[in-house]
Symmetry: D2
Subunit: 256 residues, 4 copies
């Protein structure tokens, strides 16, 4: 039986600043990437989120970011790669301790926002992230944008890499998500999202908006945007997988 | 043979903001408490400091603080104790990952500044810190102000507690350090500091400025202030211990 | 004709972290206190909020706070009073420039959260705030908790002081709002809020929950809490004032 | 008589984190650009620095930065230009209030670090800064890297622009400072710095390392680096100007 993973980025509140609908989303995913305090997520929010993940049988990952609360980690920051490496290690450790404190554990790492976007094509950033993961715990799974420099860097360091695709974004022929300048960039119809996910799984590839096939094994699916339709999209994908006889499991239970 | 520990608070720079003379201090201590990013200490500074500690055979501890870079963690902040607990856990974890990344490990926790000062007498803060330590790793040694609520809280949680006294501060009859309002609050003469340390060890007690004896086992000594004489004081204490046949070892090597 | 003021604390979002329903609230008040970046409110949010205030004919005030984004300015911080003074001056200036940039001006200052709560009874904090206001612009109106040390400090510095009461909190016989430990602390029924406001105005006093009358001239009313009923309470008060022939004007238009 | 200006970036400490030798530097310049809290400079440091400037007859300018304490404002951050605009306005206002509080005033604005570096060539960033200055106070002098997009943007907004060159950096034929990859990038010899300054003034141009002449009126000189020789360089330049009969005055006293 084919088994994949659905993941969500949660725990992105900060103090009284509330973001997201984690309580809903966590019901439909098997893994959660939790903000580590640098773009969102204070220690208590992290604890509450990790506990909720544990209670739902959802595996926990660190979602490290640039130190950019104001920009929610979405601003590109140019820094030296040594600093990127320790920035990531720090955040993995912070969440690991919180996870341990509430009785669960960090089992994957997925870069957030601009850090992820930059590392998609910047081999040095990608390598820094991979080194950080390896240096902290070589058993951590590296969740990386499919076909990115992060995938290469992760493999080079001998890490388990879970390539990720989005349910709710179309792809262009370069293998990247379609720019929001195009009308078909975002998928808001749950049925279309379901079709995309099922085709990516059955084809073992990303199928672009022009129909091009970019072969790569997608292990985990995420929604990308902040659309209010997000939960519905993920719920629909979860239900369609079950109907198709495709398993959905926490990342550590996928074979690598 | 009696064996004690000398510790120093290091790694308190932040980005280009340089503080302290860590390179000197680290030569005379056996354990170092490293800032974790909340009052000082960015990820790269933490890595550099942990690596220096490793290179000198110095054991590493987390030095968690209120989230107060502007006040260097010296401002008292009233927050709920649950938040204190995760604040501390977060910082222990952050440093642990960095320590792992550079090939060493966190083996103790010593609260910084106002967090420590408040927890000296506030049983709830003290308990929150002790719970945080236990929840992350029950083998961590809790370095706590001698005779404080932290000592009680640590014992209550079953932690190993290393009571700490200062080389360079006198004590009043309550067992606390003498207020700086008094002329004899700070010890700047290395010979006087040496005498204090040796008497505390031989007596198994704090000897106050009036000569009162408060029995408690001091396991580790630190300098308190920012006086430029700090390194000289610690160096003198280190040398006097050797002459007196008193061992000085990293905290994990002391019997508890 | 009697004229009073209704004010609201707005602009308390931060980057993508959205808080409050400013668009609704701003329709029912004549003055707005805008967060200045220390507990909430980034520069762009400040600009957007000041522009909205201008568009609604609402006068603008600075809402300075401790530097405490994580705690939303609700944590008590002990710092020296000189630092409090410049902390407040800084925030007044920051908002003033933003206000100027969008074509309006800061005309009052109202401390936020724990800073306000501490200065209610701490004469030194109160004096520091009053000095800050005077040093930046002695024409600024000081909006202060009725009967507080801030009122005294403002008068001592020769400032115009607008004493503030809450629509939605009852008062105990000390003149402070009733602790939330009591069931009647919060007023959620708009009709009860209206009665309280009208009685405070007609009596020229705070009427406590036991019926005690504490004579003091309330110039401005605010809702206190985060209850979802907040907008309804303020709207009801606004409408009742109109029906009673009581004017509602921006703070600078009240006679002092 | 020719009159120019020497300026220094000061007030770059933060809380207990001390940077620079402001007490020395302030004796040899006529204008000071003061950090505004975003890369350095807390409110109390700003007040102390502005007061020192006032005491030395030194005119005060805002030195706005990206919000980047960790990177000291030296990391390039990609953000939308509207946000840049309010980021700058905020900081000008914050310092203005502090300056007013201590009896002086902000009369110029000089972007710091990566913000300045990016705006040197990025016309949109440059325009955002110019708009910010104009929107807060159109009488403020815009101190901008000579020949940069900031110069053009300032002129376009009708601002007074003071083109700046460095005493201690050589220039390449593009009109930019020589990259530090070249051995002659930094001028550490005060006599060479003096020669460069005098030639730039007499020629009304930047003279590059190859001898090329780029005609532009330099109104103010600054040292660039953190070299310990910085004060000596500025002192030497100050003394040489006096000997050559060239005046040195605060920026507002230069004719524009």
């Amino acid at each position: 039986m084919t088994t994949v993973n659905l993941n969500a980025d949660i725990g992105e509140s900060y103090g009284v600043f509330h973001i997201g609908n984690d309580e809903e989303m966590i019901r439909f995913v098997q893994s959660a990437s939790i903000a580590c305090g640098f773009h969102a997520g204070d220690p208590s929010t992290m604890a509450q989120t990790a506990r909720a993940a544990k209670d739902h049988g959802v595996s926990v990952g660190a979602h490290p970011s640039f130190d950019d609360l104001l920009g929610f980690g979405r601003r590109e920051i140019r820094m030296n790669t040594r600093d990127v490496e320790y920035l990531v290690a720090y955040q993995i450790g912070a969440l690991s301790a919180i996870a341990t404190a509430v009785g669960t554990a960090v089992t994957h790492v997925k870069p957030h926002g601009a850090l992820s976007n930059m590392a998609e094509t910047d081999a040095e950033y990608a390598a820094a992230i991979a080194r950080a993961i390896k240096s902290v715990d070589r058993d951590l799974i590296f969740v990386a944008i499919a076909c990115s420099e992060m995938v290469k860097a992760g493999h080079k360091e001998g890490l388990r890499v879970a390539e990720e695709a989005f349910c709710d974004r179309t792809y262009d022929d370069s293998g990247k998500i379609t720019s929001r300048r195009f009308a078909d960039a975002v998928i808001r119809d749950p049925r279309v999202a379901v079709q995309q996910v099922l085709s990516f799984i059955s084809e073992g590839a990303i199928i672009t908006r022009t129909g091009k096939r970019i072969s790569t094994p997608i292990r985990t699916f995420c929604r990308h945007g902040d659309e209010p339709t997000g939960v519905e999209v993920v719920r629909a994908v979860r239900e369609s997988l079950a109907k198709q006889g495709i398993g959905a499991a926490p990342l550590p239970q996928l074979g690598f």
